[in-house]
């Protein structure tokens, strides 16, 4: 029962949620927590993620630090910005464009029932402190980007929950920024549920640039209706332990799903990208592309699952994961999964791990490039197909700037 004590120890610091819309899910979450311990590497979902450091870390949940310059973390200057600073929501002050409403999550009447896949998802239901509800009315095409900026400081630990619904025929771009000023251990778990209506287009850019002391867990649950297009780019650029969990339920025919991810890690960073695309109906397609560069002693996990149900005939699902190791001590764990119950489908996945090709580097050096430039060029080329998927120029610029700073490179857009 030592583990179970660990779980209690971990949860005891959090106050029970005051968000009414979460109550219908509370029993389910409580049961899950009662039946499961704090995960060890013996739990399949955490096979490659060691949580000992997290379990033993000291947090200060009462810490309501005033953060003066949290606005500096905003990436898109013209965005309709929402700030979540140590769990405290700052709604946009300007007037919102027609068709867009943003409210506190506590004002929500109901929320879609989410699945609880691990103890952290369960804790989020029970302990979510705050969050926002974003609604884009049908037929609304938003020109401005909605940016939700998460900032953690001090020794913050807490759960946040958002719900985004995009109505029929509407279009929206959302940037989820994760940043921190922390120099102490920090823990944040953010759950975002997104309902994509019929013929709606939703594009999410998720930029993770937290400090190297950050335990950052994010969980996105998406429901896609017919003829909709959903794209999410997960860009992991920093953090101590980053876990991304994407769960996409394709519930309407002719929907299109794009999942892209890039991760560039150094030091002792760990990133785990879990994704499930659940094809429930026929005639849909999904594309998944994750690429990573690993330096120093960093480790990465990719676990992508394509699930095709019996009725989801004519599904086309593609999944690809490529990794480059540029240091002796880095490591990669990749588990691309296919679980298919329909026969008239085309599904494939590929996974590669390797290093930079010596011949190619020699070729570049023979043409007068320094070794460093040659490697940069090769790595940029390797990443380019994911970077090209970024639709918002400011996000792309921020990604390049961060990479240059961290790896001491001189990449250009």
């Amino acid at each position: 029962m030592e583990n179970s004590n660990k779980l209690n120890q971990f949860t005891s610091r959090f106050a029970t949620t005051e968000i009414d819309a979460l109550l219908p899910m509370a029993d389910m979450a409580r049961t899950f927590l009662a039946e499961n311990d704090f995960p060890t590497t013996r739990v399949e979902r955490f096979k490659y993620t060691r949580l000992t450091k997290l379990a033993n870390a000291q947090f200060d949940t009462n810490n309501a630090l005033a953060v003066a310059d949290f606005r500096k973390h905003q990436i898109c200057s013209d965005a309709i910005a929402i700030y979540i600073v140590n769990g405290i929501v700052h709604l946009p002050e300007s007037t919102l464009p027609a068709g867009l409403t943003i409210d506190m999550l506590s004002s929500a009447n109901s929320l879609p029932t989410s699945s609880i896949k691990d103890v952290f998802a369960g804790m989020n239901v029970l302990y979510a402190q705050s969050g926002v509800c974003v609604h884009v009315a049908k037929n609304t095409v938003l020109d401005s980007v909605i940016e939700i900026v998460h900032v953690c400081t001090g020794a913050y630990a807490g759960f946040t929950r958002h719900h985004v619904s995009v109505g029929e025929h509407a279009q929206a771009k959302v940037v989820l920024t994760y940043a921190s000023d922390a120099t102490n251990d920090c823990f944040s778990h953010v759950h975002t549920s997104i309902e994509v209506g019929k013929q709606a287009h939703v594009n999410v850019e998720k930029v993770q640039l937290e400090s190297s002391e950050m335990f950052s867990f994010t969980d996105e649950e998406i429901w896609q209706d017919a003829d909709s297009v959903f794209q999410i780019n997960t860009l992991t650029l920093n953090g101590s332990l980053v876990r991304n969990d994407l769960h996409i339920q394709v519930q309407g025919e002719h929907a299109e799903t794009h999942l892209n991810g890039m991760y560039m890690l150094n030091g002792q960073q760990h990133v785990a990208n879990y994704s499930t695309v659940d094809h429930q109906v026929a005639n849909c397609e999904s594309h998944e592309l994750y690429k990573g560069i690993m330096d120093d002693k960093s480790t990465s996990v990719f676990n992508g699952k394509v699930f095709v149900r019996k009725d989801a005939q004519k599904t086309n699902a593609y999944q690809s994961n490529a990794n480059v190791l540029i240091s002796e001590d880095s490591s990669v764990n990749s588990k691309p999964e296919l679980e298919i119950y329909a026969d008239d489908v085309k599904c494939s996945h590929g996974s590669t791990t390797g290093q930079l090709d010596d011949d190619a580097i020699f070729y570049l050096r023979a043409r007068g490039l320094s070794e460093k430039s040659a490697k940069q060029l090769m790595l940029t080329a390797f990443m380019s197909d994911v970077l090209d998927k970024i639709t918002i120029p400011e996000v792309k610029a921020k990604v390049f700037k961060t990479i240059n700073k961290r790896f001491n490179w001189e990449l250009e857009l």
Binding site: N333, S334, I340, A342, D343, S348, T352, G354
Partner: protein, 482 residues
């Protein structure tokens, strides 16, 4: 497959019954059902085993009692009642035969039905057959010829009696008794199996073959195979299985250990066609097998398997590439039909420098079956310049079956190159149309396409096995077009 005509094939297909479903009426010597220390002592005593082996069994039993059955595989079945199994069954006449003529005519008949008429095999193919009926070896041929080269090929019990040093040295060195639930169970209660030793520098002149066969109702079969290829030697080992039709589930928990010393090569081929259960998914064999090979420097182990039978298969022939420049290969065709479930694949553990592994897995699911590939490619820190290529394809024949892929890829060395690729699809309608347009019936066209799809794997099989495997594929998939 001697004397197997097209008419017979047609008849089999018509009946849709398990082709090899018959029970040979031979008196069996069976110990009481159940599992406890006394039973293990009784088995050991019946087999006149030395003290160290009994101790080994008892130790394994103690370990097994502490273990729980694994549940991670993508299969669902009623767990076997380990106390309802008879752990030892041997044909009554255990005396060794001097010549083929001495063999019980009824047993000869069994072999004939199995399609391995000994005379034929000896004459035509030069294959030495160590025929295992239930748990005791009945006849061994070509022993003398192999003896001249110093090749030891005998039943496991004989090896325990005659070559105890070799057995003691290598048994459990690749699959320790603590390895998993079924390996521990096997270590405690194994009844017989095959043992093979190829001395230094010897290239075994013939393919060594063992036909296992589960007989006598209510007995599980716990085989143990140990193949040791000494430095620079080569051996090709064939294993094929059929089992009589039976209602209750039968458990088969075998352990196969291969040891390839420096520069040695072992080629291990399996055709598995145990009773898969009837059309309603009733009965059938549970096939929970642990197979693993140890590759030393410059050695090569190649696993080839054609899996068409068993109700539930849980099998991962693996290679530990311990030495530098070691090579591991895995070629597999797994066919599931009706309610069959297969969770199979391989593990390639790269430890040595410049080690190479290739995985080619072809899954075919039909009926209401579930077919999973589960594999691990692990490149450890020491495995400089390791190379892996994996390809896992699945073919779906109906809209009620499932095909799944669960590959684990772990890389701890930056100089490694790993490629993994998997596809899932059904038989292309245009391919079918093309064949049928040229006057080939739908059934034949499917068989043609499936054989082409599996060709990469079937090509790895020794000639006579490849023929049998193709027939098996055709029979297994008969009438399964969705």
């Amino acid at each position: 497959m001697a004397g197997y005509t097209e008419n017979e094939l047609a008849q089999d297909l018509e009946n849709q019954e398990y082709k090899f479903g018959f029970v040979t009426d031979i008196e069996s010597d069976t110990v009481p059902i159940g599992l406890n220390e006394d039973i293990i002592r009784l088995i050991s005593e019946k087999k006149e085993e030395p003290e160290w082996l009994l101790e080994y069994r008892l130790k394994a039993f103690a370990i097994w009692k502490e273990m729980t059955e694994p549940e991670w595989a993508h299969v669902h079945y009623t767990k076997p009642d380990f106390q309802a199994i008879a752990y030892y069954s041997a044909p009554k006449q255990t005396k060794k035969y001097e010549s083929w003529d001495d063999v019980d005519p009824e047993m000869k008949e069994t072999m004939k039905k199995l399609g391995i008429s000994m005379e034929e095999q000896q004459r035509l193919t030069g294959v030495a057959v160590d025929f295992v009926m239930d748990s005791v070896s009945v006849a061994t041929s070509f022993k003398e010829k192999l003896g001249e080269l110093g090749v030891i090929f005998c039943s496991f019990s004989d090896a325990v009696q005659n070559h105890p040093d070799l057995v003691k040295k290598y048994m459990g060195s690749v699959v320790p008794m603590t390895d998993n639930f079924y390996a521990a169970l096997n270590a405690a209660v194994f009844t017989d199996g095959s043992f093979c030793y190829i001395p230094k520098g010897v290239r075994c002149p013939m393919e060594l073959s063992t036909y296992f066969r589960i007989n006598a109702g209510g007995t599980g079969q716990f085989e143990r195979t140990l193949v040791v290829a000494d430095e620079g030697s080569y051996v090709s080992y064939l294993e094929g299985c059929t089992a009589p039709q039976r209602d209750e589930n039968q458990l088969h928990a075998a352990v196969v250990e291969l040891i390839a010393m420096d520069h040695a090569e072992i080629k291990y081929s399996t055709v598995q066609n145990w009773y898969p259960g009837d059309k309603e998914g009733k009965g059938g064999v549970f096939n929970f097998v642990t197979k693993r090979g140890m590759c030393n420097a410059h050695a090569k182990i190649s696993w080839t398997q054609v899996e068409t039978g068993s109700a539930v298969t849980w099998k991962y022939p693996s290679c530990i590439l311990k030495g530098d420049y070691a090579i591991g290969e895995f070629y597999s065709v797994a066919v599931t039909n009706n309610y069959q479930q297969a969770d199979t694949g391989t593990k390639m553990i790269h430890l040595g420098k410049n080690t190479k592994s290739t995985i080619i897995s072809k899954g075919i699911s039909a009926g209401k079956s579930q077919n999973s590939y589960r594999g691990l490619v692990q490149i450890n820190k020491s495995a400089q310049n390791a190379r892996n290529f994996s390809q896992c394809d699945s073919l779906l024949m109906t809209d009620e079956c499932g095909a799944h892929t669960f590959p684990y890829i772990e890389c701890k060395n930056p100089t490694a190159k790993i490629e993994h690729e998997a596809t899932t699809s059904k038989i292309g309608e245009d391919q079918l149309f093309y064949c049928m347009q040229r006057g080939i019936s739908e059934e034949k066209a499917i068989s043609l396409i499936v054989n082409g799809y599996c060709k990469e794997v079937l090509n790895q099989l020794p000639m006579e096995f490849a023929v049998e495997a193709q027939k098996l594929l055709a029979i297994s998939l008969e009438g399964s077009v969705g």
